[in-house]
């Protein structure tokens, strides 16, 4: 007879196998990583360009990225899109602070062709006036909608405060759309796309010839550059509150500049971050959602850039509990600084983190993403073996030490809007 009150035994994860992709050299210092053993017909290519929002201005980065396949001397935007559709390809471009990434998804038999269409569009892009006007209009309207959302406003505000006086603080304003000139886009494109390819990730069962052709075509855009300039941040904690008369909720952001994977405290801090706010059973979720019902969700994150990272707690709460929520966040952080995490909770978090890593390593696409996460920092794939070991070993004392060292309440900036 099954005793339902007794949990089935759990086997911990001891080790995970990590695999590196094949490395090809496009040019000196510009790699193409290829994951070729795919059991199905899907494939994708990701091209990383030195064309993020901090290179010049966010408006230039964002519009140029949006117009990469908007027309050449011989082909209109519509014709290019038709050509991609004819091979069933999906095209996407995303812009972050330090880079722009173009991704093309297709069935493997069509990927070389889809890449060729993109290559021609990128190489010969002319940024037609009507396309520029169109995207400005569309983006301006979308931004208006975004700027009515308290979570967006709070996110922009904390970005501006944490990164004050550096390129990382820049956000797009409505007025930017009026001042944009086509010639600026053309020169941004020339500097950061035609001469800005940083690396390429390729997944798919392609032939060696097909891969080589793609690699050779990439060479024309590849230029070795140094890493982004290391910005100097003030690190001064700031607080900001803005009342919004019509808002039903208040968005809260609490954060500070932190480190990335290259720092010796990274893994230990990640475990602390998980306990605090990075899974469903976290301290913040248990207290602020599951005990008090103040919010639909609250979480904490550690984001990474080339030279630094930043830590952030984010939530939207009922307007009347804004102060109570901030106080509870403070209580939870102080509890981690003053009390040892119970062994049972720590064991749960360790097991959870390793289970999530096993999932993150499952399948060729996931594995390449994991690899990309260490490659960005020049770390070897064995970082993840070190991660497993550290997670298995970490003690409650070390967690408390991390909370004391890195989460001093006075070091955190607090933003609330709504």
């Amino acid at each position: 007879m099954l005793n339902r009150q007794v949990a089935p035994p759990i086997t911990p994860i001891e080790s995970i196998e990590f695999a590196v992709p094949q490395v090809e050299e496009i040019k000196k210092g510009i790699p193409l990583y290829w994951k070729k053993d795919i059991a199905n017909e899907t494939s994708k290519i990701e091209l990383h360009f030195h064309a993020g929002t901090t290179i010049k201005t966010p408006i230039l980065a964002s519009l140029t990225a949006g117009l990469l396949i908007s027309g050449t001397k011989n082909k209109s935007a519509v014709q290019i899109q038709h050509a991609l559709d004819a091979v069933g390809a999906y095209y996407d471009v995303s812009v972050s602070q330090e880079q722009a990434v173009v991704t093309i998804y297709a069935l493997n038999q069509y990927l070389p062709k889809a890449f060729g269409i993109f290559e021609d569009a990128l190489k010969n892009a002319i940024f037609p006036e009507n396309e520029v006007a169109e995207i400005c209009n569309e983006r301006k309207e979308k931004l208006k909608v975004q700027l009515q959302k308290v979570n967006v406003l709070a996110q922009r505000k904390i970005q501006q405060l944490l990164f004050e006086a550096t390129p990382y603080a820049q956000v797009i304003a409505q007025s930017d759309y009026a001042s944009i000139r086509r010639s600026d886009l053309i020169s941004f494109h020339k500097e950061n796309y035609l001469n800005g390819l940083a690396k390429v990730f390729l997944v798919g069962d392609l032939t060696l010839d097909e891969m080589n052709q793609i690699k050779d075509a990439c060479a024309q855009f590849a230029t070795e550059r140094g890493k982004p300039v290391d910005a100097e941040f003030s690190l001064k904690a700031q607080t900001f509150h803005e009342e919004k008369k019509d808002a039903l909720q208040t968005a809260i952001r609490i954060g500070k500049i932190m480190f990335n994977k290259t720092h010796s405290d990274f893994i230990s801090f990640s475990v602390l971050n998980t306990i605090l706010g990075d899974y469903f059973g976290s301290r913040l979720m248990s207290n602020i959602r599951e005990d008090k019902g103040y919010t639909y969700g609250i979480g904490s994150y550690l984001m990474e850039n080339t030279h630094f990272g930043y830590f952030m707690i984010a939530t939207e709460v009922a307007k009347e509990v804004r102060e109570a929520t901030i106080q509870e966040v403070k209580n939870e952080i102080e509890r981690l600084q003053n009390e040892l995490v119970p062994m049972e909770e720590l064991a749960l978090v360790k097991s959870y983190l390793l289970g999530q890593l096993l999932k993150a390593a499952d399948g060729p696409y996931a594995m390449l993403d994991l690899f990309s996460g260490v490659e960005l920092h020049g770390l070897p794939i064995s970082f993840y073996n070190a991660y497993i070991k550290k997670v298995q070993e970490i003690s409650p004392e070390e967690i408390r030490e991390m909370a004391r060292k890195h989460l001093d309440w006075k070091s955190l900036s607090i933003i609330s809007i709504g």
Binding site: L2, A39, H82, A106, N137, K144, Y296, E316, K359
Partner: protein, 414 residues
């Protein structure tokens, strides 16, 4: 081709097992055949509130998420107007933990007052965050009752109003559980590198002793055939005027469902569709435009939506929309365009099938439709659609008396 095995327990639980040797993970997906359409009109938002309560502890296990996380897994769920779907993803060697947890909450919940009180608040905050505190957030709260007069699709999954959630009582919760949460109202799908015999043994061990419930007949108010065009204008604090044309379309099992789906892909295509080229590029009437379907089990909606450029009026737009519709009612879609859409569907499908969780949800959903093998047949249906089918279908679908229009007008001072 996705291979699977199906078996049924004596208490009525349907089990779909799909062996995937390449993964160290397991997916356990439970689809309960209950959604917002099964709610009482005076107590809406209940199926979704209930989904939250399913994480508040079961009869023998005080905490659902803790043990699953301790096993290296995680869990979530979603509620739609038609179904409630729960899933667990965890390392395969710990699959027992998921089966233990899911079977106990199918057996019975803990039904604590505290859990009900807290989740009421959480759902109210969700209501505000997603539907009220966002520009255009309440569109579906307005559009549904405009499009449906009788059928329960006239309310959104979150509920008609916050008050219904505030008023939820423990007795309601218990009755809802008894009616909808039992083996014969559930499809369990498991994916992982296991043997069928192992899965049979495990599922029997955990779920076999759960009492058989009674699958109640679903008798929903029939939506009367719409006989005239309806429109409504609401005034909101939004940055641009927005429009939502909604046409009644066939239910999920009808062949017309596939026509509508493909047609919405064609009409909503970014950059190249006729709507995009005419209204954005040529006439500069709108800043964005899209077409999609709601994909519901019963009679659904085909939506055409977008935002007007400043200085343009709803009347300007209305003329053009009906012109475009007339185009699809009188012209065959070109062979080239149809081929493009079909190959894009093939690509999309290949990528979807990559994901284990996606496969588990789809297998469960097709089983609910009648046969999990539908997952392997669907592509063929799409690939066989001809331009003539779509032309004929457009004539019925886009009849004006089959449409409603919601206009969201920007407030003057906004």
């Amino acid at each position: 081709m996705i291979h699977f095995e199906r078996f049924k327990l004596s208490n009525g639980l349907t089990v779909i097992f799909h062996k995937e040797p390449s993964t160290p993970m397991a997916v356990v997906n439970l689809l309960y055949d209950v959604g917002a359409r099964d709610e009482n009109e005076e107590k809406t938002g209940f199926a979704h509130l209930f989904e939250h309560l399913m994480f508040g502890g079961s009869v023998n296990i005080p905490d659902f998420d803790g043990p699953l996380q301790a096993a290296g897994g995680e869990s979530n769920a979603f509620t739609s107007n038609d179904i409630t779907n729960y899933y667990d993803v965890l390392p395969a060697h710990n699959i027992d933990t998921a089966l233990w947890l899911e079977s106990d909450r199918m057996l019975s919940l803990a039904f604590t007052e505290k859990s009900l009180e807290v989740q009421r608040n959480v759902v109210i905050e969700e209501f505000k965050q997603r539907y009220l505190n966002q520009p255009y957030g309440d569109v579906w709260l307005e559009l549904r009752p405009l499009a449906y007069s009788k059928h329960p699709y006239k309310w959104a999954t979150i509920g008609k109003e916050i008050k219904h959630i505030e008023d939820a009582k423990m007795s309601d919760v218990k009755a809802f559980f008894k009616k909808h949460y039992h083996p014969s109202n559930c499809i369990l799908c498991i994916i992982g590198n296991f043997e069928l015999e192992t899965i049979k043994e495990k599922v029997n061990r955990y779920f076999g002793s759960i009492p058989k419930g009674k699958k109640s007949a679903r008798i929903l108010p029939l939506e009367p055939t719409q006989t005239r065009f309806k429109s409504k204008t609401i005034s909101r604090n939004v940055p641009a005027d927005a429009f939502y044309y909604a046409f009644k379309m066939p239910e999920r099992k009808h062949p017309g469902y596939y026509f509508a789906d493909l047609l919405s892909d064609i009409m909503g295509r970014e950059k190249v569709s006729k709507m995009y080229v005419d209204l954005i590029k040529k006439q500069k009437l709108v800043s964005e435009i899209n077409a999609y379907i709601t994909g519901s089990m019963d009679e659904g909606l085909f939506i055409i939506t977008g935002k007007l450029n400043e200085g343009k009026t709803f009347d300007d737009l209305d003329k053009e929309i009906w012109k475009i519709i007339a185009h699809y009612q009188t012209n065959l879609i070109t062979k080239k365009e149809l081929e493009q859409i079909k190959i894009k569907l093939r690509t999309a499908r290949a990528f979807q099938d990559q994901g284990l969780l996606n496969r588990a949800m789809n297998l469960s959903f097709f089983e609910l439709l009648g046969d999990a093998n539908g997952i392997n047949e669907e592509q063929e249906i799409y690939q066989s659609i001809q331009a003539e089918d779509l032309l004929k279908f457009s004539k019925q679908l886009f009849a004006k008396k089959n449409a409603v229009l919601l206009k969201v007008k920007k407030k003057k001072n906004a």
